[in-house]
Amino acid sequence: DTAVSQTPKYLVTQMGNDKSIKCEQNLGHDTMYWYKQDSKKFLKIMFSYNNKELIINETVPNRFSPKSPDKAHLNLHINSLELGDSAVYFCASSQEPGTSNEQFFGPGTRLTVL
């Protein structure tokens, strides 16, 4: 019954590694997002996809690459991980633009880069 799910929940890795986080939503939404929440709880949008098309691409290092194989999935791949990438990454989804501002968030992936 989980609406927005993410895997893994925790990710601990060494600097320089490449890792991926997966997100799936079963709400039938057209739009999905990736957010980064830093240690001070500041939540900032990174990317947004609508029907597999990239809509928002904030000022994010190009080591971060989102991929949407279909509108129910949005994955985040991170190359050459750095210490500053340590944060909680949230996936979210919402209805078609123009209908609602409500975004439904997943449980988060806590990434720790050592």
């Binding site: 709880k41 947004s48 501002n101």
Partner: protein
């Protein structure tokens, strides 16, 4: 200066108290204002949603928007320990706009 400013707290009050949480913003294009609640180790969930200026009430929660002052508030009456969470304000310029701008969040603890 951030687009949305929110005092991160922490804020600690006794059970039953009235809680006031606030955000200020600089972008006059914002028209849609939200409050999200985030429990520890969980994702944020929408609590209140208002459009333009005015008040909106839902149970023990009241959201106020003053666009002339670029100031929004969330009031919690008869606060309960289960209200202990981080409260994030969020705003956007258009309905369904995909870019929500969040405040830093205020960490609230209600003491029994």
């Amino acid at each position: 200066q951030k687009e949305v400013e929110q005092d991160p707290g922490p804020l600690s009050v006794p059970e039953g108290a009235i809680v006031s949480l606030n955000c200020t913003y600089s972008n006059s294009a914002f028209q849609y204002f939200m409050w999200y609640r985030q429990y520890s180790r969980k994702g944020p969930e929408l609590l209140m949603y208002t459009y333009s200026s005015g008040n909106k009430e839902d149970g023990r929660f009241t959201a106020q928007v003053d666009k002339s002052s670029k100031y929004i508030s969330l009031f919690i009456r008869d606060s309960q320990p289960s209200d202990s969470a981080t409260y994030l304000c969020a705003m956007s310029a258009n309905v369904g706009a995909q870019k929500l701008v969040f405040g830093q969040g205020t960490r609230l603890t209600i003491n029994p």
